[in-house]
């Protein structure tokens, strides 16, 4: 079953923060996060394995709550380059990813 992402869209000014959430109704093995710019392929950002870890690089980080079967992606001090559609992908028992519907993020100057 497809994970649910929220919000569906968000508009930010440069320097503002955003949180994107991803929820699943099934037990999760891992959660992936990808960013897709218009007309381009999705690009891998990070993966979180079950165990409730938090990861990050630069000003983008993510958390994974295994008990709640949720993951959140945190974008701090957003830059124009962060604009795009963010997808979470959920993995169950080491198989293929099921992707959420995406969150469209637009960062304005």
């Amino acid at each position: 079953q497809q994970p649910v992402q929220s919000p569906q869209a968000v508009i930010l000014r440069e320097g503002e923060d955003a949180v994107i959430n991803c929820s699943s109704s099934k037990a999760l093995y891992s959660v992936h996060w990808y960013r897709q710019k218009h007309g381009e392929a999705p690009v891998f950002l990070m993966i979180l394995l079950k165990g409730g870890e938090q990861k990050g690089h630069d000003k983008i980080s993510a958390s994974f709550n295994e008990k709640k079967q949720q993951s959140s992606l945190y974008l701090t001090a957003s830059q124009l380059s962060y604009s795009g559609t963010y997808f979470c992908g959920t993995e169950h028992a080491g198989n293929m990813l099921t992707f959420g519907g995406g969150t469209r993020l637009m960062v304005k100057p």
Binding site: Q2, Y29, S30, H32, Y34, E40, A41, P42, V43, F44, L45, M46, I47, L49, F87, G89, E91, A93, G94, N95, M96, L97, T98, F99, G100, G101, G102
Partner: protein, 115 residues
């Protein structure tokens, strides 16, 4: 190669014709995935190959869709008797191995338009 290569990048076909889409994964990646993305939508799983195991075909929308993979290399996705609702971008991805903490590397996709 350095990345996942897909061909053709664009394909316009007439309704009822068959089409074949090709994917060259990253060398050494045992897992290969096909996804479909309709305009403005998310990624819809189609089929998954892992090494020499039987493929997971659970996402194929109808028996008009089929896919093959030669060992751990090239894969082809075939759509027979194309319909207008088949119009979409078909994305291929590969990863070193599933379930071990690796992300997917996507190709640039094949944009299929059925007229």
């Amino acid at each position: 190669g350095a990345g996942v290569s897909q061909s053709p990048s664009n394909k316009v076909t007439e309704k009822g014709k068959d089409v074949e889409l090709r994917c060259d994964p990253i060398s050494g990646h045992t897992a290969l995935y096909w996804y479909r993305q309709r305009l403005g939508q998310g990624l819809e799983f189609l089929i998954y190959f892992q090494g020499n195991s039987a493929p997971d075909k659970s996402g194929l929308p109808s028996d008009r869709f089929s896919a093959e993979r030669t060992g751990e290399s090239v894969s082809t996705l075939t759509i027979q008797r194309t319909q207008q609702e088949d119009s979409a971008v078909y994305l291929c991805a590969s990863s070193p191995a599933p379930g071990l903490g690796y992300g997917y590397t996507f190709g640039s996709g094949t944009r299929l338009t059925v007229v």
